[in-house]
């Protein structure tokens, strides 16, 4: 079943609030501009029920692994980073468990080394989306007039 909205790009908006997706429209259930709502009440919830009415494109959580034969559900260039993550945790465990202060310091140092490698693979060389820093730059000169 199609919706009654001819131009959703002009008459619907979305935003996120906490754990919710909010969809607003300024049209009534027939797809016409609302005649009953006054100006400041124009935008309100979608007025019609439409099966599969919204399509979202999103970053999702990778599937978890349950056995040793599974493959991590992320790109293979991140797999080595996972080894560093596991070693980082185990060295941290070792630093906390060992009674020898020297061993503890060595384990802590190795933990930090793996932490850096994990951080580099996931953040620096990974696929982190940087909305504010990515993309091409355009220099806008100061208006001298």
């Amino acid at each position: 079943m199609a919706s009654n909205i001819t131009y959703p790009d002009k008459h619907a908006v979305w935003f996120i609030e906490g754990n919710n997706l909010c969809i607003l429209t300024n049209l009534d259930s027939s797809g016409s501009a609302s005649t009953t709502a006054s100006g400041r009440k124009t935008w309100k919830a979608i007025q019609e029920s439409v099966t599969d009415g919204i399509l979202i494109n999103y970053n999702s959580e990778p599937n978890k692994v349950t056995s040793v034969s599974d493959y991590p559900d992320v790109d293979n260039n991140m797999h080595n980073g996972i080894v560093d993550y596991v070693k980082r945790c185990l060295y941290m465990d070792k630093a906390g468990k060992t009674g020898d202060p020297n061993q503890s310091q060595i384990a802590l140092g190795l933990s930090q080394m793996h932490e850096k490698r994990w951080s580099d693979s996931s953040k620096r060389f990974g696929m982190k989306k940087r909305d504010k820093t990515g993309g091409t730059r355009v220099i806008k000169p100061f208006n001298m007039l």
């Binding site: 199609a2 919706s3 909205i5 131009y7 959703p8 790009d9 619907a12 908006v13 935003f15 996120i16 609030e17 754990n19 919710n20 997706l21 969809i23 607003l24 797809g31 009440k41 935008w43 309100k44 919830a45 979608i46 019609e48 029920s49 439409v50 599969d52 009415g53 919204i54 399509l55 979202i56 494109n57 999103y58 970053n59 999702s60 959580e61 990778p62 692994v65 349950t66 056995s67 040793v68 034969s69 599974d70 493959y71 991590p72 559900d73 992320v74 293979n76 797999h79 980073g81 996972i82 080894v83 993550y85 596991v86 185990l90 070792k94 996931s122 953040k123 990974g126 696929m127 989306k129």
Partner: protein, 116 residues
């Protein structure tokens, strides 16, 4: 040509070079922790369809939320939202960044959370 990738077994083998006695179950837990952390980056992009409900403004995106086929969304971040038009096509709709710009009428809203 096959792509080189590491199974959990291969990851465990590399770890056991240094920590031989580590149980597989613990390594699996740590791998899952790493995957949760990696989920906050653009590692996996998905699409899902959600049905609209008349007079419902908020659509749940929490960990337990599901699409219109009752499949778990497992959503971390929404990139784009499309809405079905009168011909059944999905048209991208704009995101409102400053929600204070719009005066909205929430009197019809049925999903408002009451204090518990």
């Amino acid at each position: 040509m096959a792509v080189n990738k590491l199974s959990v077994k291969q990851i465990a083998n590399r770890v056991k070079e240094v920590f031989p006695g580590t149980p597989d179950a613990y390594i699996i837990q740590l791998v899952n922790d790493a995957l949760v952390e990696l989920g906050s980056y653009n590692t996996k992009v998905s699409h899902a369809k959600i049905s609209t409900v008349a007079d419902q403004m908020w659509y749940d995106l929490s960990d337990g939320s599901a699409d219109s086929s009752s499949m778990k969304l497992e959503l971390n971040k929404i990139n784009k939202v499309y809405m079905m038009d009168n011909e059944g096509d999905y048209i991208q709709i704009p995101r409102l960044t400053d929600t204070n710009l719009l005066l909205t009428d929430v009197t019809s809203e049925s999903a408002l959370e009451a204090p518990d």
